[in-house]
């Protein structure tokens, strides 16, 4: 006997099918759950970078030469296999791609949610949603803008007249000794920690990493990582302001390089 099938009529969809259907596996990224996977994976990569970056920056407390050597070691990574700085550039390109995908998926999913959502004119209560989860769309752009400033300030040296390429200690102490810059770093890194607090927990859900026996640990991990990043990253502007990190405007690395150049002349 033929089966009677009644198609369910429903209100018009909020989201239309993509105009161009990409081939597999790119088609996964055209779906919302697929985008959440990409957001979670890129978030994990970016989080890994942030943790390593913070730990690496602790070399500032050893002194100007030590952090300079650390920076040189990063450039020397993989030199037995590849030309100098290549491995560093491969990692940088990976991070740029991850960052771009993280932003694009967030933008695209936010648009989808905004289209699907309607406000409650009578107001609504939040019970489970916390400050971090509700401010992801604010902390994200703050981190993005801060990252641009951070690169322009300490990598490209646009805003620092005393910028010395290859001397992180000097550049950090010159930049962060300005009070507005120190405040900017404190605000942005607090936003970063708040973003990480929700993002780390959320990542497990989005990637389907869920096992009732260990689920409670996900919140501790999120709080722990956010806390470590917060304490580590805020220590730099605070200790520069306190005068712990200070080279009195002298770039030891510059002097060293001049010394080396003069040595070659003789």
């Amino acid at each position: 006997m033929a089966q009677a099938i009644t198609r369910v009529s429903a209100p018009p969809p909020v989201r239309s099918e993509p105009k161009i259907k990409l081939p597999w596996p790119l088609s996964i990224y055209q779906t919302a759950v697929g985008k959440k996977w990409v957001m979670g994976l890129t978030g994990a990569a970016l989080l890994g970078f942030i943790v390593v970056h913070m730990i690496g920056n602790l070399h500032l407390y050893e002194g100007p030469l030590e952090i300079h050597e650390y920076a040189e070691t990063l450039r020397d990574l993989g030199t037995k296999l590849l030309p100098r700085t290549w491995l560093l550039w491969i990692m940088r390109i990976g991070l740029i791609v991850a960052f771009a995908l993280h932003i694009h998926s967030a933008y695209s999913l936010s648009r989808m949610s905004i289209a699907a959502d309607q406000r409650y004119p009578g107001g609504r209560n939040y019970i489970a949603a916390n400050f971090a989860s509700r401010t992801m769309r604010w902390t994200g752009p703050i981190i993005g803008l801060y990252l641009f400033y951070h690169l322009a300030d300490l990598t490209w040296g646009w805003f620092n007249p005393d910028f010395v390429r290859g001397d992180p200690y000097h550049n950090v102490s010159e930049s962060l000794s300005s009070i507005p810059v120190a405040i900017l770093y404190i605000v942005a890194n607090t936003a970063l920690a708040v973003h990480i607090f929700h993002g780390t927990w959320s990542m497990f859900q989005s990637l389907g990493v869920n096992s009732p026996r260990y689920n409670h640990l996900r919140r501790y991990l999120a709080a722990g990582l956010a806390g470590i990043i917060l304490v580590g990253n805020l220590s730099f502007p605070i200790f520069v302001q306190a005068g712990v990190i200070d080279d009195n405007g002298r770039s030891i690395v510059e002097e060293l390089q001049h010394g080396a150049a003069e040595g070659e002349d003789h």
Binding site: A10, V14, T31, V33, A116, D117, Q205, N210
Partner: protein, 255 residues
Amino acid sequence: MSAEINLTLKVWRQAGSSAEGRFVTYEANGISTDASFLEMLDIVNERLIEGGEEPIVFESDCREGICGTCGLMINGQAHGPQKGTATCQLHMRSFSDGDHIVIEPWRATSFPVLRDLAVDRRAMDAIIGAGGFISVNTGAAPDANLTPVPKETADTAFDAAACIGCGACVAACPNSAAQLFTAAKVQHLNLLPQGQAQRWARTEAMVETMEAFFGSCTNHGECEEACPKEIPIDFIAWTNRDYIKAKVKNRKLVG
């Protein structure tokens, strides 16, 4: 101990889906604390009818918390202040004399208001229609226990199957995502042996139908708190996992 309380209701009134809606304030005096929330609205409606006014339209059916027909945003909380309780099982003893109660319909773009507090939830039916079933050959009923199911699996599947499809998860979600509803409806079948044949087709079809109508989950967890059946968001994570697996497996099947 039964007592009577006087309430001030601020109720969303809307004459039709295309009409402009607004809040109307009603005094609800002498309401028994033994009345359920819907009985309180019944009393208010009787008084409105006696006064020659249009009664407030709201949906209800079983009134014992198992059908999922009722559902109101009460003081900004889906199904009101009591955890794990549908609107019909919420009683007026949860409120105090002199309380102001704001009553609104579920709000989401795919839940258009039909009238007053009633919304069109057919978008959820579309998700079920996409794969929320198992296909079996008809005939004599199979022997009981023909298909063994471990107790823990049955319990977990039943936790998901407790979903009554009321839409509170969508209403409570700041993104109007239907992830908890869809996940519950996907997982109660995906967990069981009977659901395996269509597992990957079901997961892909239901998730993608959901995405056509509702927002994207950002893991706030509001749905879990609003759910009258207290369905955990763990099912959402498992569905996210099944979805990617489905995307990998299903690609081999389409020629």
